[in-house]
């Protein structure tokens, strides 16, 4: 009787599931050549990972030499979560294996030669941008997914201009304000041009610059009929030529008020008439009016 199990015995055990079925490599040479350990087992510890995984791609268990596991188990102490080979959850999720710190550094080094440093003056004083860079152009870019990755909203361009940088005269500024209408915000001094009528962003930016040029040159022009404008046509009420002034002059002639206080009162009057009315401003107006007329100061 030999010591090893008889063939019939092993067959019986295999059939009943007590013995492990040994699978031998097939005699086929192609099969034996096709067998190869996964790539992750042959990797060096000091290899360049960005060469192995240069771009975004789906997780591949045979390439990543990390002992990753993913998935839930009712009791992880008893049975560890699902292994990385054949793990569909790892395949599903987007991974950032191509964006390792080293890879990002390498990328930054490569594109450094195309970049210029950010102006240090602007870093120190951000208000400098207002005077030095009076035009700002805003647009949105949309990251999309689908057969067509264009987005119609990306064509919209918003251009903001600091009008003070255009150095208009008083007359030109008034004409400019009339032409720009609600696009010009007087309180902040910013002109906002939004263009979306052309198909591409480039065309819209060009159109915005064209509009700015036209506005500027139109504002500088003085037409012959502009001389005909009367006091009532002005955008703002002026102290000079007002009935207040003429009446005041009459009174002053009687009370002998000097030119300086007249001037300062005119300045206050201009501000009072051309800005929003508040109780404080009205009180100030009353105080100054009494002062200039030499009346007794109002008690608070």
């Amino acid at each position: 009787m030999p010591k090893r199990k008889l063939r019939g015995q092993t067959q019986l055990e295999q059939a009943t599931g007590r013995a492990e079925m040994k699978t031998r490599s097939r005699t086929d040479l192609m099969d034996r050549l096709a067998q190869r350990p996964p790539r992750s087992e042959e990797m060096d510890a000091d290899q360049k990972w960005s060469d192995v995984w240069p771009a975004a791609r789906t997780f591949a268990a045979s390439v990543v030499p990390l002992p990753v596991r993913m998935g839930s188990r009712p009791n992880t102490e008893k049975r560890a979560p699902f292994k990385k080979e054949g793990n569909l959850e790892l395949v599903k999720i987007p991974n950032f294996l191509h964006l390792t710190p080293a890879a990002i550094q390498q990328h930054c080094e490569a594109i450094k030669k195309f970049c210029t440093p950010f102006p240090p003056e602007l870093l120190n004083t951000p208000e400098l941008a207002k005077t030095e860079l009076p035009i700002s152009v805003d647009y949105n870019t949309y990251v999309h997914q689908g057969t067509n990755i264009r987005d119609i909203r990306s064509r919209v361009v918003t251009m903001k201009v600091q009008v003070a940088a255009l150095k208009f005269s008083e007359h030109a500024l008034e004409k400019f304000a009339r032409l720009a209408a609600n696009r010009y915000d007087e309180t902040t001094g910013i002109l906002t041009i939004i263009t979306d009528r052309c198909h591409t962003r480039k065309q819209n930016i060009d159109y915005a610059y064209y509009l700015l040029t036209v506005l500027y040159h139109e504002a500088l022009k003085v037409e012959s009929w502009e001389k005909l404008s009367a006091r009532a046509d002005a955008l703002k009420v002026d102290f000079d030529g007002s009935t207040t002034k003429s009446r005041l002059v009459e009174i002053i002639e009687k009370t002998h008020v000097d030119e300086k206080s007249m001037e300062s009162f005119g300045k206050m009057w201009n501000e009072y008439r051309n800005t929003e009315e508040t109780p404080e401003k009205t009180r100030e107006y009353a105080r100054r009016a009494k002062e200039i007329l030499g009346l007794r100061k109002a008690e608070v």
């Binding site: 086929d28 192609m30 099969d31 096709a34 975004a56 791609r57 789906t58 591949a60 268990a61 045979s62 998935g71 839930s72 699902f82 080979e85 054949g86 793990n87 569909l88 959850e89 395949v91 599903k92 999720i93 987007p94 949309y142 999309h144 997914q145 689908g146 057969t147 067509n148 990755i149 987005d151």
Partner: protein, 167 residues
């Protein structure tokens, strides 16, 4: 034959309309698997998790951004494309499928469509043949869907490698 046609005509002339009614089958079967006595039924992770675990324990088989608000939405197109891709992969790699090709992940990034998932070596994996098939499938689907299609299907030895549990 003529007689039979006559017979059909007679039947048609005599037929009248009926409403067919059946009792409702109140059966909720989603995510319920029947276990076997000797625990031979293979369950993948995808199958083992219940539908209400979607987004918690398991993630989606299709990834796209067409359901984002304010973006141009074409969900029906995406669903149709997915079905085309899945059916094509199922039909094109019949020998290499695991779990009858139900678990193919489709991811969309930019204008690229990425097909991921697992295939098995069947009897023998002819590398030349499989490369050719991958190339053909990519090219064919790219032309069909008018966008680049990439196959990132990985190979496992057999269906056992994706088994999460046996019930």
């Amino acid at each position: 034959m003529l007689r039979s046609i006559q017979h059909v005509e007679n039947q048609l002339s005599q037929s009248c309309r009926h409403i067919s009614t059946t009792s409702t089958l109140c059966k909720n079967r989603a995510g319920k698997t029947k276990s076997t006595t000797n625990r031979t039924q293979l369950l993948t992770y995808e199958m083992a998790q219940k539908p209400h675990h979607l987004g918690v324990r398991k993630s989606w088989l299709t990834w796209h951004s067409q359901n984002l608000e304010e973006f141009r939405q074409s969900q029906p197109l995406v669903v149709a494309q997915d079905e085309v891709v899945r059916r094509f992969i199922r039909g094109f790699f019949p020998q290499n499928l695991i779990v009858s090709g139900n678990e193919i992940v489709i991811k969309r990034r930019g204008n690229v469509l990425i097909v991921a998932g697992f295939l098995q070596y069947s009897r023998r994996l002819d590398i030349r043949r499989i490369y050719w098939m991958f190339g053909f499938a990519e090219e064919f689907l790219s032309i069909l869907l008018k966008q680049p299609v990439k196959l990132e299907l990985a190979f496992v030895e057999s269906e056992k490698d994706v088994a999460y549990n046996y019930i």
